[in-house]
Point group: C2
Chain length 334, copies 2
């Protein structure tokens, strides 16, 4: 078994090949021509000694770490592992991503951004409902590109952005329920201030058929299963409960299913249900959940491609926004 030799330096290689350190550098970088047989001698010495270039020293010299920070709420939310995988593929092997789980907490987001700068990441992929572009600008130097994922809080993005068409997706979901004859449609949305586009799509669908939205049917909850269950219990306890619900994510819709089971309501007979995201569990639950696709892998892939163009300098223009289509996935809860 050949042992790795960590202490071999460029000086050792130069000595063994009987050339200067500068010559070894030129062979390694390929930036200056080195004539054969000198090049051959250096390459042979590198092989024989098991020399490895020092990535850290190179990073310091080039100011490039080939590291990307992926700042997301929580890698255990099933949307994000697929996104992380897509990002890796989009970055094309040249960069690695390290994960910062923010739990959506502003304090943690800020701390992470500072840490990321200290580590000199070459780029940042950021999924934050709350962080305003000016807040990012105050923390991130201009040389470090930021790639935003998901719907931003403002319409005019200051950074490259990849997001799903949340409004059209929510419009399709609500239209589908209206077409099935439902008129009292509950909306289980995320925490106040988040996921506004999905709410907008819901309202737009009601408006299309001239239905007046009932504020009693619109509830905010955490993006979690228990958050969805709590909202459903309140909606089902109304004097005139909704006959259908649209949930702003699938995880909350799973919670609605829990609450319906608890209260002995059969889905879809007593309550129709549409989610959002099309996570793997949506197809596995019983009955399988009608939902809206929100492609995490493609989002990550595009984010990787666009960010790579920024980091390498291949693109230096105005911020770009890519909007991915969301389509209705009909299953058995409607």
């Amino acid at each position: 078994v050949k042992r790795f030799a960590p202490r071999v330096t460029i000086t050792d290689v130069a000595h063994a090949a009987d050339v200067s350190k500068t010559t070894v550098s030129h062979v390694l970088s390929g930036k200056r021509p080195v004539a054969q047989p000198t090049r051959g001698r250096v390459e042979e010495a590198i092989r024989a000694l098991g020399y490895r270039p020092d990535g850290l020293a190179r990073s310091l010299r080039t100011r490039r770490t080939h590291m990307v920070a992926l700042m997301i709420p929580d890698i255990t939310n099933p949307f994000y592992p697929l996104l992380a995988r897509g990002l890796e593929d989009g970055l094309d092997g040249d960069y690695r991503a390290f994960i910062c789980n923010t739990d959506g907490a502003r304090q943690r987001e800020q701390e992470f951004l500072e840490e990321i700068l200290d580590r000199r990441a070459d780029g940042i992929v950021l999924d934050s409902f709350t962080m305003h572009p000016s807040g990012i600008a105050s923390l991130v130097p201009e040389g470090i590109p930021v790639m935003r994922i998901g719907t931003t809080v403002i319409d005019e993005p200051a950074h490259d952005t990849v997001h799903a068409d949340d409004e059209l997706g929510a419009l399709a979901a609500t239209r589908h329920l209206l077409e099935r004859g439902h008129r009292r449609i509950g909306l289980v949305r995320g925490p106040a201030g988040a996921g506004e586009k999905r709410t907008a799509g819901y309202l737009r669908a009601l408006d299309e058929v001239g239905a007046r939205p009932d504020p009693a049917l619109v509830l905010s909850g955490e993006w979690t299963r228990s958050g969805g269950a709590a909202a459903a219990r309140r909606l089902l306890a109304l004097g005139e409960p909704p006959t259908a619900m649209f949930c702003a994510n699938d995880v909350m819709a799973l919670g609605v299913m829990d609450a319906a089971r608890e209260l002995d309501r059969t889905i879809p007979r007593d309550l129709a249900l549409v989610g959002f995201d099309d996570i793997e569990a949506a197809a596995l639950v019983s009955p399988p959940l009608t939902t809206v696709s929100n492609p995490p892998y493609e989002t990550g892939l595009l984010a990787g491609v666009l960010l790579r163009e920024r980091m390498t300098g291949a693109y230096r223009g105005a911020p770009r926004t890519v909007t991915l289509p969301c389509r209705l996935v009909e299953r058995d809860t409607t």
Copy 2:
């Protein structure tokens, strides 16, 4: 909005505080005492200029990057996001983990190990069914601790290891099926050479009741849903098909459920089924899957704690092995 100023150097701070660069270094490192009011002047200059220490230069000096490589088959397998989250918590905020998805391919594992060394990760968390300790030793210098996760190919570990008690878990699963009266119990295992301990637990349970294992009932398949479905189709096509199956992971058990539906077999009436891992989907499918818990979060957490002790030098002793208990989770497929 305060703009981040990336170009402030230690020289600027020294100039503003009217001291030498060495004095600024001493204030920053805290290693040598600096008298007040000099210390106060330096601290004031650091604040006023918005100076940030250069993490990269520090890494080169200390030979510490505070980065850990997490080498796993695939972050989109629902076991691993929880493990990654546990690892982050176990590393206690001091280290970040970057993910290397190997897809279980030996070639990618080797390439990643080389890249990891080039990046000078402070530690490696490795989940590999195939990599032999001597293979790791030939690639990783002794100064970089390797933490193994999951059952290793040999019993005498050369590295710290955290794994679930695969054999006892499989024993409990198979015993449970035997207690329900099944005697023809199929085993859907992973690819040849992987997951041997789970096979051992299955065989031990049969041996306990004096049952002779039937080689026709033991099939290898990919660790995927389609791999499980393919194995189940073959088992159900046998002249005397099994009345129960134990799958070496839940994802394959979901595939068995797909195949059973296709072939019009009702679970558990026509076919009893036990999985392994207790992923979230196990509780969501219909009927909910009986399985064996394999705690990913705790595995990651312990791996983080043990690896941190190695990286900081708090522990320098012989390799440690932590075995986490696996317990049967009875649901409705048995």
